[in-house]
Amino acid sequence: MGAVIVRPDGFVGWRTQSSETKPRETLRGVYQRPLCKWRRAGIGRATYSKLAPYVTLSRETRRARTKMAEKDLTVIAKFMVCRRAYLAPDGQVSRDLPAFASDKGVLIDMYRAMALARSFDLKAVSLQRTGRLGTYATSLGQEAVGVGIASAMRLEDVLLPSYRDNAALLLRGVKLEEILLFWGGDERGNHWSGAPHDFPFCIPVGSQAPHAAGVAYAFKYRKEARVAVCILGDGATSKGDVFEAMNFAGVWKLPVVFVVNNNQWAISVPLRRQTASQTLAQKAIAAGFSGEQVDGNDVIAVRAAVDNAMAMARVGEGPFLIEAVTYRLGDHTTADDASRYRPADEVQEHWKEEPLARLRAYLVRCFNWNKMQEEEVTAECNQRVDAAIQRYLKTAPRAPEAMFDHLYAELPPIYAGQRKEVGDQNA
């Protein structure tokens, strides 16, 4: 059992003893039943309620303390985090839409881009399941984030994506078969026909954030009106290098926009175990710039937020952080089984909020989007993906010695022997 302790300095708390709860065997493996707070502390509910204000910072306590502070001390800084959302899950509009959303063509293009990403994801997973693609990370349910970002960018801007950002890459001009080539195990996939200065997928989480700062520094140094856009996951916000980059970007007012795709899960770790921060948007505040939360399932909201952030960055107003709140409807990657750690009903609940259905509902309501148009988009996407798959499958592997070809600008003579060796071995 846990025990209530009272320290000589008057601190009241309890010693927990969580080991007393035994893991339970279930069909899906070992499952540790979460205990309610007072049972975890090994005390009764009544004692818990009495002690809680002393050991946890409940919202009430925070409020009480703030009140006290305002009475006794001088408040020197206050911060605000705003949230942006336009479309409700049923496609109803909650506030005036941004100007671009009155253009039916723009909305349909965004819808088409999301539909393409989804079709691509589903077919990529079946390729992986049949042994024709390596490990693959889908963006299922998060298509609005990638499409919202990329549709707000100019070709000369630079995108620094993480490994889940296929939807954004496609809109930046990367070919479907090039993405397949990379996940199919061939570096040539990154030698793409998309925006020439965009960075390739970043696999070590968050480590591209300092690159984004460097790219933005180059823009500022050369006085170019270009913006670097870095897409991170919620897990990445726990990393030191991400904050190092934001901090530097703040000091130099760099033209960089950090977008956090908050899909709530970093593989098996839920957001509440990632951070005690109320929002991820507020992480910008410590770096000296603004953060905004946006409904990441509302592509209009994502695009409007990124539009706004980029416009400011472009005119020298400095960096911005956007937290796009969405949900990872799929596994982390094809190598993952989310049912080991995530209840199915949670996923089901989030299907009600997914971005494609939402925009579709809006299109139906306001632009008479009909079944025929819908089927046309689906068929076109499927056809494009199928054709790309055929091109990918027909791409022959590189010659083995080509693994040396881009090691340095010019291969140092010392490695010529090894290059020949790998060629001869596989001749």
Binding site: H197, F199, S207, A218
Partner: protein, 327 residues
């Protein structure tokens, strides 16, 4: 020709690079107003402005990562890490990004950056300020690892590193930052990378070293000369990719090989040289290869650092041993 110290030569080279190429930017912790804790960047911010020579926040991973981002955008960044003991947060950037950006994009993007950092012990510095972990870096494919051993080579090699189209880690031997002066003409002429320097010709034994230990190795060669042993001294200068031809040709001539470095012995870069000689020059060997190195322990705090580092006496003794093995 003016005589300058090694750290002054580095300052000269940085100034030259900043003058010649507007894409060169220099940054790190305290490199601006303060001119660097070793004064390697002294006066540069005043001359070239705060956009080109600037202080970063205290964030080593950021410094390396900034280099990658800037380099991919066509700048020529020169980042400084204050001491080698603080380089380790950069390893992620060096291994995962800088060294492979060209390869993973098949040449679409590249990473012409330089990361400078002081190297080695012998200045009675506090803990974590005396590291010599060059072998860790030399193990990374796609990277260049360069370490000068005298002012004139510091100047020429740094210019070469900045002009190189690929990432270079440039190690600066702190012990000889101000130990001696040599003539350096600020001509803007670079020295070749990936090439070892034959500093002294000899017939009987090849002494191979780099960085601050080259000075001691040359002294050892002098002493051996007095004993009638003719030692050849090679400054490896670039550890990756290193100049195996110069090493092999010398060992083929002398038949004896001693490698000198202050880093710990096991897995040190001396092991690579010994392996090369065993693989490719076994039949010209008259004696086993000997490594004269720091010991396989943590570099001690200053009271014992002299005892840890290879001394001239230890180098001479090792060379004599190879000589006696097959006189």
């Amino acid at each position: 020709m003016p005589e300058v110290t090694l750290v002054e030569a580095i300052n000269l080279a940085l100034a030259r690079a900043l003058t010649d190429d507007s894409s060169v930017v220099v940054f790190g912790e305290d490199v601006g107003v303060n001119g660097g804790v070793f004064r390697a960047t002294v006066g540069l911010q005043q001359r070239f402005g705060i956009d080109r020579v600037f202080d970063t926040p205290l964030s080593e991973a950021l410094i390396a990562g900034l280099c990658v981002g800037m380099a991919a955008q066509g700048l020529r960044p020169v980042g400084e890490i204050q001491f080698m003991g603080f380089l380790y947060p950069c390893i992620d950037q060096l291994v995962n990004h800088a060294s492979r950006l060209r390869n993973r994009t098949q040449g679409r993007l590249s990473c012409p950056m330089v990361l400078r950092t002081p190297h080695g012990a012998g200045i009675r510095a506090p803990e974590h300020h005396s590291e010599a972990t060059e072998a860790m870096l030399a193990h990374i494919p796609g990277l260049r690892v360069v370490i000068p051993s005298a002012p004139e080579r510091a100047y020429g090699l740094l210019l070469a590193a900045i002009r190189d189209p690929d990432p270079v880690v440039y190690l600066e031997p702190t012990r000889i930052y101000r130990a001696f002066k040599n003539e350096v003409e600020d001509t803007g002429e670079a020295l070749p990378l990936d090439v070892a320097f034959l500093l002294r010709e000899g017939r009987d034994v090849t002494l191979i070293s780099w960085g601050a230990m080259v000075k001691d190795t040359l002294e050892a060669a002098e002493q051996l000369e007095a004993d009638g042993i003719s030692a050849e001294v090679i400054d490896l200068a670039t550890l990756r990719p290193y100049d195996e031809r110069t090493v092999l040709e010398s060992v083929a001539k002398t038949g004896r090989c001693v490698v000198v470095h202050e880093a710990a012995r096991t897995g040190g870069f001396g092991a690579e040289i010994a392996a090369l000689v065993a693989e490719r020059a076994l039949l010209s060997l008259l004696a086993p290869v000997i490594r004269v190195t720091g010991y396989d322990t943590i570099i001690p705090l200053p009271r014992l650092e002299r005892q840890y580092m290879p001394s001239v006496e230890r180098i001479v003794a090792a060379a004599r041993k190879t000589w006696k093995f097959a006189a």
